[in-house]
Amino acid sequence: DQQVKQNSPSLSVQEGRISILNCDYTNSMFDYFLWYKKYPAEGPTFLISISSIKDKNEDGRFTVFLNKSAKHLSLHIVPSQPGDSAVYFCAASRGGTYKYIFGTGTRLKVLA
């Protein structure tokens, strides 16, 4: 029962260009979404989040967009830098529950 899906296992982008990572979910009860970034041999680190009452949240080079009708969120990184090369996980939760449901991750490679 894969409620959170990241259908692109990998993505390559040139340095300075925009990286767009996508995430789809099936449970309309999800109301909080997060992106985590993971380097090899390290645990995931929190990057940015968005509540379902918003459709956009921005933090520096990172912007998350939420389209509730399409049950889709995306992470935009502009401009992309080589240090952004990592695996990006999206996660979703339903308010009042403890449980984050994670996607399987997208490996981003930013080419210098």
Partner: protein, 116 residues
């Protein structure tokens, strides 16, 4: 100066053995978690503790027994290891109570367990 640390980083063992993974956080958080990332890369919650008290057991076999000696530590003991237990296990901590809608969790580096 690691915020959430796990030991060991790698663990290779035979089927049927008993092993433990330790987790410590120095963030002063009250809530800690164990996650399992399987071969398909799904990251799934296993347990959650709040201030040394078990809050969540996400239908994990009872061969897995978490132990929290104090709120900074949450260890995972696994009895009678099976091949299917091979995975990366992540510990995490949070400043919020379990179920806080806007929670952010801080993850350890993971322990790669291989059962032969």
């Amino acid at each position: 100066d690691t915020a959430v640390s796990q030991t060991p980083k790698y663990l290779v063992t035979q089927m049927g053995n008993d092993k433990s993974i330790k987790c410590e956080q120095n963030l002063g958080h009250d809530t800690m978690y164990w996650y399992k990332q399987d071969s398909k890369k799904f990251l799934k919650i296993m347990f959650s503790y709040n201030n040394k008290e078990l809050i969540i057991n996400e239908t994990v076999p009872n061969r897995f027994s978490p132990k929290s000696p104090d709120k900074a530590h949450l260890n995972l003991h696994i009895n009678s290891l099976e091949l299917g237990d091979s995975a990366v296990y992540f510990c995490a901590s949070s400043p919020h109570r379990v179920g806080t809608p806007t929670d952010t969790q801080y993850f350890g580096p993971g322990t790669r367990l291989t059962v032969l």
